[in-house]
């Protein structure tokens, strides 16, 4: 082994050998000088001249032995280790400072990593086991619905931005195996290329083939790993077995990998069969399309292309497109599943925790600066003794990075804990109402992206808070420091200016966060505190889906619900029972309508509602008799539907207050007529029989209620209804009796959803919104706390430096009040400027949040005012503590204070 490799090895050995080699070198250098002297003497120099020349020719003895010494071992490493040891000693001398610094950093780094982890799962990673999730786009029209099979075929054949496109549709299936035990499962109807598009193949059996989706093909299904495990005990022989799904004999052909779920959480997949009904262009059910972007295509260009195609189709098929806005929406994962504001809210949250970290940095910069100023004598001495300024900067940076490293270790641990606390609600950080299945699908593991982010912020933090004081100190005028025996006059002033700027920054950041959190909370309160129009407590609710195979007749369906109602009302503790197509708060159908008489259709509806359609839209909800009574809402006028509003009676409708106010502000709404359109064809006229209060429907979080009409169940019967029971006892208590009554009527019929209390069904959207607001509030509170600690530290430091001055003032008669005012006045300037800067900044920042706010202006004066008051209070507390301490200064002691 020779050459450079050998050199590294020898250097490493040199690290260990150290001293012995040094003595050897010293002896050699001595010999060199002696040899030179002898040589010089031989050439006839005088003794003195010979010595002088030898020394001159040799040069610096010290640097020669240092250079040679540096060749042994790794000089950079050694001096780094020396600096590190020095930093550790410094930290141990100052455990209080170290603890505070590490705690602040851990907090800042911890919550940043937590938020990033959750954000990573939702914004960047998406579904597990889906290949290149970021290249998959979701296409719908309307609000997450409404694509017809022919639309999809046209899109797929015309769009060039996509490598592939598939159509999917969530359904619920009743699954019965040979044991005859029925269970309902969530299934997804998919076109045959779905799994290929997401890049997965079954671990057992085969994928869907084109032949499986031809009408009349033998029904097949692919199971999810979870279902295979639960229901079949991972039996490989399940392939080829037949089961009954909605009574159809179906063959199991495959099992998907563990953890795979797409495009939502489901138990199994079946092929989407284009029956004649499905092939109708006007049949726009709740399907959606997803596609994989081709190479080099951006979301924007894909969106532009799809809009062009949508417009072209609209012109090509004017009849089936009438009254509908069928321009395709092209959405990414987050936008589709978490709502259009997902990106905004996550980024806002990321920004918020970023601010918290910045405040922590500013605090630490201040503390480090104060501490370093205290060490300015030592540092000046080192500079005077020849330490390079870079060496000083490096020393200080090593200290701060060491601190941030310790903070990071603690922060990582904190983040792990935080992710555990946040993950179940991770998908909840949104203003949409995501399905409950969503939370269990995503992986919140801390992957390489999280690790990279974590390492970057940890090091970045150390550099950020260490650099300013380090550069500041390295510019110290060491002459004046050493001469004055204290701080150089200029150094002290400049250091103070820097720390004031830092405090101003902290205050500004805190006020931005406070006001941001404030408007979010205000918006949440608007949503939650809004009058719902009914009493949601003590209502038990359940969804019943009557299978059409066994309840083909309308009469069978209505009679089932009629008998169920009678049976449920007989349960002790149940007051009344009603059915409805949907529970309050949730989405209902949007339909075009027109009023009788005055052609008010053209004036009705806002521009947005009306846009290019011929008729304005309303929300319609089918309800059974006694609906309002059961909800605890009383009609404003007219009557409820009753058992006589059947097929033979005059078609009736109940409108909500908003509808009545909009169309008949000065007339009696009762007896007025309106009609709805189905596929552009008008239906029979409906006569208004009642006016209901505004009850939340569709977006429950929105304060402004939709135009909503109620239609009688007996005139629009259906086999899929929600049953609601008002109870005198806690609703959960009769859930079992409820289920028993359903079983008594039809032992094979499972309850599709519930029975659960209505408050739980309606709660998610509130819970989610509240959760987001609460998180922002927590972040703002942490920021406020940090900022006032920062102010406290700066004021306290200046008080301790002015002890002597305060002592003199007291000695010549200043009262405690004067002293307190003197100290408080120090805080006024940074807080005042910070407040102004922060308020201005928050006006700009809050505008970004605008689309996520409900009935709150981003510049809400109440919120901004409250945020300012909170900040001032916190600042006063931060200043008062050192101020009070200052008043207790003993003049005698203070004057002796050095």
């Amino acid at each position: 082994m020779t050459g450079p490799v050998r050199e590294q090895w020898e250097r490493t050995l040199g690290l260990v050998r150290g001293r012995r080699v040094d003595r050897d070198l010293e002896a050699e250098l001595d010999a060199h000088i002696e040899l030179a002297i002898e040589d010089n003497l031989r050439r006839g120099m005088s003794q003195e001249e010979a010595h002088r020349q030898a020394a001159r020719q040799f040069g610096s003895r010290l640097s020669a032995s240092e250079q040679a010494g540096d060749q042994r071992g790794f000089p950079a490493l050694e001096s780094f280790l020396k600096d590190l040891a020095y930093a550790v000693r410094g930290m141990r001398r100052n455990p209080g400072f170290t603890a505070v610094a590490v705690a602040m950093l851990a907090l800042g780094i911890g919550i940043n990593t937590t938020v990033f982890t959750v954000m990573n799962a939702i914004l960047f990673r998406g579904f597990p086991l889906v290949e290149r999730n970021d290249r998959i786009l979701y296409l719908t029209t309307g609000s997450n619905c409404c694509v017809s099979w022919p639309d999809f075929r046209d899109w797929r054949s015309q769009a060039k931005s996509f490598e592939g496109m598939e159509l999917v549709h969530g359904v619920t299936l009743t699954f019965t195996d040979e044991n005859g035990f029925p269970e309902r499962y969530d299934a997804t109807e998919v076109t045959s290329g779905t799994f290929r598009l997401v890049g997965q193949t079954p671990i057992l059996g085969r994928d869907f083939a084109l032949a499986d989706e031809t009408p009349g093909a033998r029904p097949v299904a692919i199971l999810s790993y979870g279902l295979w495990e639960r229901r079949f005990g991972k039996d490989p022989a399940v392939i080829g077995r037949t089961v009954r799904m909605n009574a159809a004999v179906t063959t199991v052909i495959g099992v998907m990998p563990q953890g795979f779920t797409f495009p939502q959480k489901q138990d199994l997949w079946v092929p989407l069969i284009p029956t004649p009904e499905v092939r109708k262009r006007e049949n726009r059910a709740t399907w959606f399309v997803f596609g994989r972007m081709a190479e080099g295509v951006t979301v924007e260009s894909a969106r532009a292309e799809m809009e062009t195609i949508g417009r072209r189709l609209g012109e090509a098929y004017p009849l089936t497109n009438r009254g509908r806005n069928l321009i395709p929406h092209v959405l990414n994962f987050g936008e589709f599943f978490i709502g259009p504001n997902a990106t905004l809210i996550y980024k806002a949250m990321w920004g918020a925790v970023g601010f918290v970290l910045l405040i922590a940095c500013a605090n630490l910069a201040n503390l480090t600066l104060a501490r370093a100023m205290g060490r300015s004598r030592e540092i000046s001495l080192r500079i005077a003794l020849g330490a390079g300024r870079w060496r000083i900067v490096r020393q200080l940076l090593i200290e701060s990075i060491l601190l941030s490293g310790m903070g990071a270790c603690l922060g990582w641990w904190l983040a792990k804990w935080g992710v555990r606390a946040l993950a179940p609600n991770g998908s909840a950080i949104s203003d949409a109402t995501p399905g409950d299945w969503f939370a269990n699908v995503l992986g919140y593991s801390m992957d390489y992206r999280v690790l990279a982010y974590f390492i970057a912020i940890s090091i970045g933090t150390g550099l950020l808070f260490g650099l300013a004081p380090a550069l500041r100190l390295s510019k110290l005028d060491f002459n004046s420091v050493l001469k004055d025996g204290g701080l150089g006059a200029t150094g002290g002033k400049r250091g103070k200016r820097l720390s004031t700027v830092l405090v101003i920054g902290e205050m500004a950041l805190a006020i931005v966060l406070l006001s941001g959190a404030g408007v979010m909370i205000h918006s949440f309160l608007n949503a939650y505190g809004g009058n719902l129009g009914f009493r949601p407590d003590n209502i038990l609710t359940a969804l019943i889906n009557l299978p059409t195979a066994r309840y083909p007749q309308v009469e069978a369906q209505t009679s089932f619900f009629d008998r169920l109602k009678t049976r449920l009302e007989a349960i002790p503790g149940v007051e009344s029972v009603a059915i409805a197509k949907q529970v309050p708060g949730w989405d209902t159908a949007l339909l075009p309508y027109e009023l009788d008489g005055a052609r008010s259709a053209s004036v009705a509806g806002s521009a947005a509602e009306d846009d290019e359609r011929h008729h304005p839209m309303l929300s319609a909800l089918v309800i059974g008799p006694g609906y309002f009574h059961t909800l605890g809402a009383s009609l404003l006028s007219g009557r409820e539907f009753n058992d006589f509003d059947g097929a033979l009676a005059v078609p009736a409708v109940i409108v909500n207050q908003r509808f009545a106010d909009r169309h008949w502000p000065h007339q009696n709404p009762l007896g007025q007529r309106l009609r709805l359109f189905k596929d552009a064809a008008p239906e029979a006229w409906l006569t208004v029989v009642g006016v209901a209060p505004n009850i939340a429907q569709n977006d429950s979080a929105r304060q402004e209620r939709d135009l909503l009409v109620y239609l009688p169940y007996l005139q629009r019967p259906s086999g899929d209804m929600w049953v609601m029971a008002r109870t005198r006892v806690p609703p959960g208590a009769i859930a079992n009796s409820f289920r028993r009554e359903v079983q008594a009527l039809d032992p094979q019929l499972p309850v599709s959803l519930g029975p659960i209390p209505l408050t739980e069904r309606a709660a998610p959207s509130y819970r989610y919104r509240g959760f987001t607001a609460a998180l922002f509030l927590i972040f703002a509170a942490i920021a406020l706390g940090l900022a006032s600690v920062g102010l406290y530290a700066v004021v306290a430091h200046s008080v301790s430096r002015r002890t002597q001055e305060i002592g003199i003032r007291m000695a010549i008669g200043a009262t405690a009040r004067d002293i307190r005012r003197l100290v408080l006045s120090q805080g006024v300037f940074p807080v005042g400027i910070g407040l102004v800067v922060g308020l201005l900044a928050s006006l700009a920042v809050n505008r970004v949040l605008k689309s996520g706010l409900i009935q709150v202006s981003p510049a809400d004066p109440l919120t901004l005012g409250l945020a300012s008051v909170t900040l001032i209070l916190a600042a006063v507390v931060g200043c008062l503590i050192p101020a009070n301490r200052a008043t207790r200064v003993d003049p005698i002691v203070a004057l002796r204070h050095d």
């Binding site: 082994m1 020779t2 050459g3 450079p4 050998r6 050199e7 020898e10 250097r11 040199g14 070198l25 002896a27 050699e28 250098l29 010999a31 060199h32 002696e34 040899l35 030179a36 002898e38 040589d39 001159r56 020719q57 040799f58 040069g59 610096s60 003895r61 640097s63 020669a64 032995s65 250079q67 040679a68 540096d70 060749q71 042994r72």
Partner: protein, 116 residues
């Protein structure tokens, strides 16, 4: 500055040490320093002390070996001699150096003509 020394390309001093040892046989540090000063016309070594870092490095790379011995004036001194690996390295480096010098010469030649 008339007295300024030639800026040494990294490794040049090492090469000179190897060459001196190759042509003159084992030498002590002072002898090497004097010899390099004389042959380079005092233009290379900043001062004699600089040579020791080079000597340590060459030893670490096993291109020279060191041994304590007695000088002609009966003084204890450390003698350096070139090793087999050192000779190989010297041959390689000499070749490199000549090639480099030729290239530099070619590159600089037209410029000199141009400025005339």
């Amino acid at each position: 500055m008339p007295g300024s020394k030639l800026d040494l390309l990294q490794g040049t001093l090492d090469l000179m040490v190897l060459q001196t040892l190759e042509s003159m046989g084992p030498q002590h540090g002072y002898g090497l320093a004097r010899r390099i000063e004389q042959s380079s016309g005092d233009e290379v070594l900043l001062n004699q002390g600089t040579i020791y870092a080079s000597l340590v490095r060459l030893q670490q790379r096993s291109w020279i070996a060191a041994e304590w011995g007695i000088s002609e004036t009966n003084r204890r001194a450390k003698y350096y001699s070139i090793t087999r690996a050192g000779r190989k390295q010297l041959a390689e480096e000499t070749l490199n150096w000549k090639r480099l010098a030729a290239v530099i010469g070619r590159v600089l030649a037209p410029a000199t003509r141009g400025t005339k």
